[in-house]
Amino acid sequence: MRKMPDNSQPDVRIFYANTRFEQMARRPGGVPRQKAMAQAQAKIDELKSGFNDWLDRELRQLNDALAKVENDLNDNASLETAYRNCAQLQSVCAAMGFELVTFVAENLCKIISTMMSGAAYDKDIVDCHINAFLLAKTDQYRAMSPEQVPEMASGLRRVVELAGRNSVRKSAAMDE
């Protein structure tokens, strides 16, 4: 029987939940760590082979969402969808070690974020990122770091910087 910790204040209750997870996960008979790791790694390798399809699908969805925003600048739902798509691209590609796609996704997330806080939709900026995605997702570029494609990286960084500045300027004008 586990000794209960002392409750120092009357309105504080401290207890051990002794959850089903704690009880059952400690049972003998689990998959040994080494075997579990080998099996998990095999699953991950399997998933990696389907990565291209997933990436194409996500980019298509991102494109669709941004096209909707372009048609209706007040379509906040599509803007949020685009943001989520982009964040997922960033998350998954970072985990898979695809630095350049991660970098482009991170940039576009920042751009969409400024749009969500009131900056104008700029088709050129969006198109520039979509084109960067198309290049970055190719086998040749995917694993490269932004430093290995300095012109593209500095160009995209500059675009984000300008978008941020415009956003600040616009919100200042609105405050006035």
Partner: protein, 197 residues
């Protein structure tokens, strides 16, 4: 902990992540660990439905879950006194493991935060940690969740803040580790550096 084996058979595990890719990855990893009851959830609405209709054993949730955000969800799970899943272990996955996120997660009642560049090894470790190092729950007007001080294992000399805190055994003092000359030279160097600055 490195040699511990976790048995996930017949434990209901819920993976809540808006990314289908991640869900598939975590699902695959958990199945490799021996889990046979893994539920995948894309939206918070589905998660709420599951939580209110069945008992689950562990929740692995991404910080990008929507439309309810992870903070609200965690709070909702922990503060609902009538929910049977109130004490379920919550493992939060995030791309952003900045101090702010970790603190927010801790204060909302999550058990752990895992960086999203998660390897099978790390996930296995975290599951073992939750299973073999149970933390007491704290229930007070402003918080319900695992004890947030779980890294504090006690204080030397038995000076714990609570009677329940473990005591760390430290070695007996056997004499000064540095000679007086060594100590003096350290101070001298610091003084010289300060003067140079």
């Amino acid at each position: 902990m490195k040699n511990a084996t976790v048995n996930l058979r017949n434990l209901v595990t819920v993976v809540a992540d808006p990314s289908s890719y991640w869900r598939r990855a975590i699902y695959g990893i958990l199945r490799s660990f021996g889990a046979n009851k893994v539920l995948e959830v894309e939206h918070s609405m589905d998660l709420i439905r599951i939580l209110s209709s069945q008992k689950i054993d562990i929740l692995i949730v991404d910080t990008q879950i929507h439309p309810h955000n992870w903070h609200k969800l965690t709070h909702m799970i922990r503060r609902n006194a009538t929910n049977e899943n109130r004490t379920v272990p919550i493992l939060l996955m995030s791309n952003d493991t900045s101090e702010r996120i970790v603190k927010d997660a801790r204060d909302a009642g999550a058990n752990m935060v895992v960086a999203k560049l998660m390897s099978p090894n790390i996930l296995y470790d975290r599951l073992c940690w939750i299973a073999f190092n149970p933390r007491p729950f704290v229930d007070c007007p402003s918080y319900f969740g695992p004890d947030r001080r779980f890294k504090i294992e006690g204080y030397p000399g038995g000076v714990g803040r609570r009677k329940g805190d473990k005591i760390i055994k430290v070695a007996e003092e056997v004499g000064p580790a540095l000679a007086q000359d060594d100590i003096d030279s350290l101070f001298k160097a610091a003084k010289t550096d300060a003067q140079d600055a």
